[in-house]
């Protein structure tokens, strides 16, 4: 490989193919990628530090805002850790409600992903269909919790809202509608040649690399890593239900699609079992304001994979330390590997295939009261690209067009 054929293409931090800020330096030899450098941190908001300065109850609402999609994943994980430190036994009904919302969240997240994946490969009909169907589960979540995201369902000791018998019936009815639609998507994923050929072999990640690089969730499972926190480290009500862990040996983006579509079907089944077995009784117990000295680690299978929270209590009403390891941080390290030897045109779908969530990953943002004028912002952008990337946009003016 002669060095003069190498080209570096910067993608991000602001780029139409990325839904959130992140920076990829893609090194190309012709059309082929041979190295990718990833830079993160653009969404870092200092939430871990902020948690230390707020009470446990305030922290629930702050942590809910780590992510716009898996908000319930983070709060459940946090309250589970706090409940373990305080020795609180959550009533069964509270656990069942938590689990139902968790699975509804997975359904809306996976349907969203399927649409994004369709869009990234130019299959916008799939985007329109899945996002239309996603509204069905969003409406249900809004009816159950009052909100489309950030449901505010969790509190230390249980949940804040109960489900009425009518709501439970509505959940079952919605599962029938969604299951019917998902069967259609499974058919598309198994027979539609454009989808299969576009995704097969793209973004290859071997099982060994997935383990070494710490890939989690559907990204790991599509590389043959048979690991799901819901089964292997059960929490909430998962030990009361039967479900299959979707594992696929394809090791590519097509495999990641099959895993997620399969997981949708399992989620419908889990929710039906929970509604059927729903116990009576209270949804929460009263929790003390001061949480004793102690530490706990809670793990949760979020839609994107394992989410880990570490909480340390110091006997006051504020935690000593809260640590969050979101699934995208674990998965991103495998993206660079899976992009190697792919074409530049495969970058958007391969990045999208881990269903990245950079807000979760970074957890901080710097807010500044200064306001940029357009000229100053433009000059800043030109300087930045010149000093950081060696590209001088001032030269652009000299081009004939």
């Amino acid at each position: 490989m002669s060095t003069d054929m190498k080209v570096m293409v910067p993608i991000g931090p602001q780029h139409p193919a990325l839904k959130e800020p992140e920076s990829f330096k893609v090194m190309l030899n012709g059309e082929k990628i041979f190295e990718v450098d990833v830079r993160l941190g653009y969404n870092h908001r200092g939430i871990e530090k902020a948690c230390e300065q707020r009470s446990y109850i305030q922290d629930i609402y702050l942590i809910e805002r780590i992510c716009g999609i898996c908000s319930h994943s983070h709060t459940t994980n946090f309250v589970q850790a706090v409940e373990e430190i305080a020795g609180i036994q959550v009533p069964k009904r509270g656990l069942y409600i938590r689990t139902i919302v968790a699975e509804l969240e997975r359904i809306h997240s996976h349907l969203l992903w399927l649409g994004v994946a369709g869009h990234e490969i130019g299959f916008d009909t799939l985007l329109m269909y899945t996002w239309r169907d996603r509204e069905v589960v969003m409406d249900l979540l809004a009816a159950l919790s009052g909100n489309r995201v950030n449901y505010g369902m969790n509190t230390i000791g249980g949940t804040r809202r109960d489900f009425t018998p009518e709501q439970l019936q509505e959940i079952l009815r919605t599962m029938d509608v969604l299951e019917d639609r998902t069967k259609y998507y499974i058919e598309i994923a198994s027979v539609e040649p454009t989808l299969i050929q576009r995704l097969s072999g793209v973004g290859f990640l071997s099982k060994e690399d997935a383990m070494r690089l710490g890939a989690v969730g559907p990204t790991g499972r599509a590389s043959g890593v048979n690991y799901d926190i819901r089964r292997d480290d059960p929490y909430a009500a998962y030990s009361d239900v039967q479900f299959k862990v979707m594992v696929n040996e394809n090791c590519d983006v097509y495999g990641r699609t099959l895993v997620r579509v399969g997981e949708l079907m399992e989620s419908y089944s889990i929710i039906r079992q929970l509604v059927k077995q729903m116990p009576d009784g209270p949804i929460a117990v009263k929790a003390p304001r001061r949480i004793p000295v102690g530490e706990a680690i809670s793990r949760y299978e979020a839609p994107r994979g394992e989410d880990l929270h570490y909480v340390k209590g110091n006997g006051t009403d504020k935690p000593e330390r809260v640590k969050v390891r979101a699934p995208t941080l674990a998965n991103l390290q495998s993206v660079a590997k899976s992009l190697e030897n792919n074409n530049l045109a495969d970058v958007p779908i391969t990045i999208a295939a881990i269903d990245p969530c950079f807000s979760c990953t970074d957890r901080m943002i710097q807010v500044d009261d200064a306001v940029f004028t357009w000229e100053r912002l433009r000059a800043y952008g030109i300087d930045w690209y010149k000093s950081q990337r060696g590209i001088d946009f001032r030269e652009v003016k000299k081009l004939p067009w």
């Binding site: 830079r39 200092g46 070494r212 480290d233 640590k323 674990a330 940029f372």
Partner: protein, 161 residues
């Protein structure tokens, strides 16, 4: 909890100094603590000989005079082994575990930025998660750090060149 006890027996037999600070908190949650001198031996043994093939992350803790680090290792059966170790805050030097898990680089960079740990052997790369303009001697997750300590404009893209 036979599985957890078996792990305790094996680790304590191999490393008797772990016996004092070995706690099985509940099913699948094992905590142990070692001086940093022995940390890499214990970590390596758990990874290579005891099937702890998943490195979940490492949590940094500011404990006054020391910085402590809690390495979370997991098995595919869901058992989580948490190995805690401490170094002095005046010279917080750690060795990287990227030799076992290349994916740990970002977790270790977080310790560098947020706690001011020095991680030997960490491959070159960008800072994470703080921006380049953030003062290198300020570490936000240390207990004595306050946002007021930031010089005006630091950590912002708005910084004047």
């Amino acid at each position: 909890m036979a599985n957890e006890q078996q792990i305790q027996t094996e680790l304590v037999q191999k490393f008797p100094f772990l016996a004092e600070k070995f706690v099985i908190k509940r099913e699948r949650r094992i905590f142990c603590e070692t001086a940093y001198d022995h940390f890499l031996e214990v970590f390596g043994h758990a990874v290579e000989k005891m099937d702890f093939k998943i490195f979940a992350t490492v949590t940094g803790l500011d404990e006054g005079e020391n910085l402590s680090f809690l390495y979370h290792l997991s098995r595919l059966d869901g058992t989580l082994l948490n190995i805690k170790t401490s170094v002095s805050k005046t010279n917080p030097v750690l060795k990287t575990v990227t030799g076992w898990f290349p994916g740990s680089a970002l977790y270790e960079r977080e310790l560098v930025d947020m706690f001011g740990a020095k991680v030997e052997g960490l491959p070159d790369g960008f800072r994470y998660p703080l921006p380049d303009s953030f003062p290198k001697d300020q570490h936000p997750l240390r207990k004595d750090w306050k946002p007021e300590m930031l010089p005006e404009g630091a950590g912002s893209i708005m910084e004047e060149k």
